[in-house]
Amino acid sequence: MRRVLAGAMLWLSLALIGGGSDFVLPAGAQADVPVVPLEVMEIAPGIFVHQGSYALFAPSNRGDIANLSFVVGGDAVAVIDTGGSAAVGRALRAAVRTVTDKPIRYVINSHMHPDHLFGNAAFADDRPEFMGHHKLAQALAVRADRYLAANAELLGSEAFAGTRLIAPTRAVHDRVVADLGERELVLEAQPTAHTDNDLTVYDPATGTLFLGDLLFMRHVPALDGSIRGWLALIDRLERIDAKRVVPGHGPPVAAWPEPLQPQKRYLGTIAAEVRRMIREGRSIEQAAASVGLSEKDAWLLFDAFNARNATAAFAELEWE
């Protein structure tokens, strides 16, 4: 059961409160509890990254299973992804406060999966702009109920406490520049790849690219969008002139563009093997059992995601 749910999603659910920009501020009681700040590494001047565990959601990790970042500008701070629970979000916020007192002006979510945005509630008091892909709000809206049930179960009530959905307040349709004072971040909405609501962030001052789950390192990629779209996007991302990259899962920073290769190989293998099985008239369940096995030793959490990736790829590619 746990494997199905965790395998079904890295991503848990939250209680959604109302719609649009109406949200209820978190109970003040939470603010008084001493919070241990997340450990962060300064990977470039003014850029701090916390590395999440290579794990599925569990009470012991409170949903701290994705990479979370913040960027400090002249006047203000932008947070990029907030973790898998309000508790992790609070710990991230505490990490920001160990570095700077500047106001948190933007909370940017790379995509809909709960390990990247369930910490948003911890930042509500800062009244930032919550930025996301223009499809993020709707994507969350239709998944909120399902995510809620699974999240509470997987994390346990203590780790889950205070976790709520904060819907994006600013939708990125194409490209938006976030001004931090003497520093700008470039946000770009991407076509369907890992999900149908992937958003990338680029810091021109340091040449640092934040790809969210468009880049998995060590942790097997998880497909919840379009395998063709993702492979096509990888080819375009490769041409971006950046100095370093922050992946959604993996080490806090990596060179660029080398880390794309293992992911490209994995997704390419899935696509090629699924296409062959479709040509041979095989079934979706046969594909789930046999596709991608050559990649098994190259990735962590392989068994939790590979068969599901094959299932999703099959349902997509049989329409080619």
Binding site: M1, R3, V4, L5, G7, A8, L16, G19, G20, K135, A137, Q138, A139, L140, A141, V142, R143, A144, D145, R146, A149, A150, E153, L165, A167, T192, T195, D196, D224, G225, S226, G229, G281, S283, I284, E285, A288, A307, R308, A310, T311, A312, A315, E316, E318, W319
Partner: protein, 271 residues
């Protein structure tokens, strides 16, 4: 007639969300089967696991909204299958679909993908022309399938709605049956998925009827409901007759949409 209406209501059940989001296995709750046996089959005797019908299903589904099932019915003399009912005990709409077969059907192989809302028995019940009932059952571990979002790319789904495709598979040597796979682009919205932005459930919109013919001969007719996965996908067997056979499909949905397709039966090994 009343039995048929009863099945339709069990197929077409939409409305308030039943507590189908539980993620723990339903261990000690009431067994839904006796009620279904009564409502759907009027408590008629059903032979179980006697080999006439077999059901393949995963023990643990990779995606609760896309659970593959394969049903095979052995074509014995005096036991020609007339109808097949698929059920998922703990789904809000437990009758997934009913199929009736015509002369165009061959050895029956029928595969499709379903939504499983809670850990549940999944059943395939065949009625023979002689009127006997036979059942195969599998327990599937999955949950939340009925309220999961239909498709991964919301814009693509809208653009593609209503497209149909037929894949054909080469015949096995000396086989009298061939297989084909009908694919329909359709979200098959269950009506049980809440849109939290609007506060409303996404309205039910699903395929209700499907008829596949080989020329004039019926291959199968299906009444379906919300337990079929988005992009309904049915792999089926048929008996080719003539060199210029044409397979046709007509599908209807709850919006009154009528979808039609026709495809010449391919000879040789092309698919």
């Amino acid at each position: 007639m009343s039995e048929r209406l009863s099945r339709r209501s069990l197929i077409g059940f939409v409305g308030a969300v039943v507590g189908g989001l539980t993620v723990t296995p339903a261990i000690s709750e009431d067994d839904p089967w006796p009620g279904l046996h009564q409502d759907v089959f009027r408590n008629r005797p059903i032979a179980e696991e006697d080999g006439l019908v077999t059901l393949e299903a995963p023990i643990r589904a990779e995606d609760a909204a896309l659970v593959p099932l394969t049903v095979r019915v052995s074509a014995g003399e005096g036991a020609r299958p007339q109808a097949l009912t698929l059920l998922i005990d703990r789904n809000p709409a437990p009758v997934v679909a009913t199929f009736s077969f015509g002369e165009g059907v061959g050895e029956i192989v029928l595969a499709t993908r379903v939504r499983v809302d809670a850990y549940s028995n999944v059943r395939a019940v065949v009625e023979t022309q002689a009127g006997s009932l036979h059942m195969a059952t599998k327990y599937v571990k999955a949950s939340g399938g009925c309220s999961a979002p239909a498709l991964k790319d919301s814009e693509l789904a809208d653009a593609e709605l209503g497209k149909m495709r037929l894949r054909q598979f080469p015949a096995a040597p000396a086989a009298t049956s061939r297989e084909a796979q009908l694919m329909i682009r359709h979200p098959n919205h269950s009506g049980l998925q809440m849109n939290q932005l609007t506060g409303y459930y996404i309205p039910a919109k699903f395929i209700t009827d499907l008829e596949v013919r080989r020329g004039a001969a019926l291959v199968f007719r299906m009444e379906g409901g919300i337990s079929l996965s988005a992009d309904p996908n049915i792999r089926f067997s048929f008996r080719p007759a003539n060199a210029d056979d044409v397979l046709t499909a007509v599908a209807k949905d709850t919006d009154g949409r009528v979808l039609r397709g026709s495809w010449p039966v391919k000879t040789g090994n092309d698919s």
